[in-house]
Amino acid sequence: MTTWFRRGGFSTFLFLLPLIVVFGVFSWFPIVRAAVMSVQQTNLVTAPRFVGLDNFRTVFEDPLLWTAVQNTAWFALIALVLGYPVPLVLAVIMSEVRRFRGLYTAIAYLPVVVPPVVAVLMWKVFYDARPEGVFNTILGWFGLGPFQWLQSATTAMPALVLEATWAAAGGTVIIYLAALVAVPHELYEAAEVDGAGLWRKVWHVTMPQLRGVLLVTLILQIISTSQVFLEPFLFTGGGPANSTLTVLLLIYEYAFASSLGGDYGAATALSLMLAVFLAALSALYFWLTRSWSTS
């Protein structure tokens, strides 16, 4: 013990103390607690009761679970179709800008800087479904609409994705730009020697070089879209008719929506299920990135 102290073991421990305390109290302890709570029933007033897998059963028997899973998958899918290629195309074109590239990136990045809550509240005004609404007025100039936007079960989710993409695309553009700049120009020169034109260079040199980044952003996007909360919470509250109820919103509702006290057991049970799914994705991500960094 004394030698441990004299060798500086104690001061090392002191350096680790912030990490141990913060992770211990706010990460490891809650993780264990989540596992325990998922098999308990607790309302914070009476002592928790062990209920086995009842919480999981409650969640599985809730018809809203499947609605929420479908909605979340739907959100992720539209976000992918809409939000995945756009930043890539933007970045490829922007990487060829010779003058004022800074202007392009700054403008593209600007929406990312707007606080998400402000963006959502602003877009809520844009989505006014009257013919006099902002978007409906603009589309009216071209003889389109008026659209129902958030006021219809079919258009509400795409409307949410549209805003989310607007708010996030700039960040992805910057990532792609960084990756594009890192593509060794010798590869292009070699392709040119082989007589490759512009499109073939993009297709056969740029894309393969971006493969890593593209896969990683893909997985990251799926991970973050499966946790979407802010948009449905602030735009529609999950409506109309539960058409934008996402998994995280359902967790929130289990835990906090009933005014008589939440069902924390069901909330953690559903959280754990989502976590298993996300952990699998994270593991995939980790494995992919690691295999590339070593190759």
Binding site: L17, P63, A129, Q148, Q151, S152, P240, A241, A257
Partner: protein, 456 residues
């Protein structure tokens, strides 16, 4: 040597961090012999400054009369999620308010303090309207919540839009067919929503229940201790049919079908809604939060279908005391409830003081209320505050004259808020999907609600 000193310094730093951590937790112990400190709910977020000023003036009056009590206030608006979070978080103030629907559930879960002994000391427990008082009583008659206000659902309408649409603002609709006709006329002639409906945060279920009651149906039936969901009834179907016709046939409901209590009030005050159903006590909030032009406002009784079954849904607010409060705080809290919410109905000096304070701050005085004691007590109170009345009572005469003719029915007895939450999406479906199958939706909802009721 140096390294030892370093270690000591690091240790001291760590201790300082720990100290900070401990210090930040803000313990609320009162020093012995000092004043009793209680926190009370004040007004809704976003209320006018003058309203908050009037409230603080009343706090000062209370503190002057009760030198041993120190009152702090915090803004408050009851909504399901915020209330749960505060309940779980232990951040509810000493005195807070909850709707009648939640009284029983909170009492059963041991979340409210038993304040019987203090309230009985004020000497008016036997004068309460029995059905009203029951909302705040446990099965064995102990008082956990004091009814402070009762409302009936009314029909709010915009007189200016009525006039613009060629309707007589002093003759609000008397039947639901009238409501539909008027709504269409308003929508056609003014371009605003003729009629609008709340659909979010349990208000959709609340208002569907109101409409169903008004048409003659009920959402739950009680046999002994068993409660059965009866959501799937023909009156509810008729209610949804009416909404569907106004929305899809007449197109008279505007373009927003995701209203909650706050946003529908906001749009009504902004002159974008001709008529909507809501608690009869909304005007105060329309003034304080939404800055409504008083000339626009009209309040009518809700049309009830002919027949003995049709009833008016009524509810109210309970003032309750945090179960975590010390006995001293509980007593002080009960005094505040007596001072701020109750005594004005029973003592002329209190009524006049309250009315004058509010009138001086340009806050609404004299709104129509339903009796929490008996009708005579309420009438007497209304004569006391007569000189200070500053709300357009004439524009609410349909309600004030008609309300006492109507059969008042309480909200569904069990899990009302959870039932309302399920019904929200039914109403949203009908209003956003032209092909929604009202009957099927009600049947599904009925089964879901039965599951909730069976779970207990």
């Amino acid at each position: 040597m140096t390294s030892n000193r370093r270690t000591a310094a690091a240790l001291a730093a760590a201790a300082a961090v720990a100290g900070l951590l401990a210090g930040c937790s803000g313990s609320s112990q009162q020093p012995d012999g000092g004043p009793v400190q209680i926190s009370v709910v004040s007004l809704k977020p976003g209320s006018e400054q003058s309203a908050f000023d009037a409230f603080e003036e009343q706090v000062r009056q209370f503190e002057a009369a009760n030198p041993g009590i120190d009152v702090t206030s915090q803004e408050y608006e009851w909504t399901g999620p915020t209330f749960t979070a505060q309940l779980a978080g232990g951040t509810l103030p000493t005195v807070f308010t909850v709707p009648f629907t939640d009284g029983q559930g909170l009492i059963e879960r041991g979340q409210l303090a038993d304040i019987s002994s203090y309230v009985e000391g004020f000497g008016y427990t036997d004068r309460f309207n029995d059905t009203v008082l029951r909302a705040g009583q446990s099965e064995d008659g102990q008082i956990f919540g004091v009814p402070t206000a009762a409302y009936g659902v009314g029909l709010h309408y915009n007189r200016t839009l009525f006039a613009q649409a060629g309707l007589d603002p002093s003759r609000p609709p008397a039947t639901w067919d009238d409501v539909r006709t008027y709504a269409r006329q308003i929508a056609e002639r003014t371009g605003q929503a003729g009629y609008a409906q709340m659909t979010q945060e349990n208000t959709g279920g609340w208002m569907l229940t109101s409409l169903t009651y008004a048409l003659g149906g009920r959402m739950q039936s009680t046999q002994g201790a068993d409660v059965e969901a009866t959501v799937d009834n023909r009156y509810a179907e008729q209610a949804l049919g009416l909404l569907r016709d106004m929305r899809w046939t007449d197109n008279s409901m505007g373009s927003n079908f995701l209203y909650d209590w706050g946003t529908i009030n906001q749009d009504f005050a902004a002159g974008r809604i001709g008529m909507y159903m809501g608690g009869s006590d909304v005007y105060e909030s329309l003034v304080q939060q939404n800055n409504i032009n008083p000339d626009d406002y009209g309040l009518a009784v809700l049309p009830l279908a002919p027949g003995a079954e049709a009833g008016l849904l009524g509810g109210g607010t309970l003032a309750a005391v945090n179960v975590r409060a010390t006995p001293e705080q509980q007593e002080a809290a009960a005094r505040w409830i007596d001072f701020y919410y109750m005594s004005k109905y029973l003592r002329e000096d209190a009524a006049v003081l309250d009315a004058r304070t509010n009138a001086d701050a340009d806050q609404p005085v004299g709104l129509p209320e339903l009796p929490i004691f008996d009708r005579a007590t309420l009438d007497r109170y209304n004569t006391w505050i007569q000189p200070f009345v500053n709300v357009p009572l004439a524009q609410m005469s349909s309600f004030t004259e008609g309300i006492f003719e109507q059969d008042l029915a309480g909200e569904p007895p069990a899990h009302a808020q959870e039932m309302y939450a399920v019904l929200d999406s039914v109403v949203q479906s009908v209003l956003t999907d032209p092909n929604a199958d009202a009957r099927g939706l009600l049947a599904t909802a009925d089964a879901e609600i039965q599951t909730i009721l069976d779970r207990g």
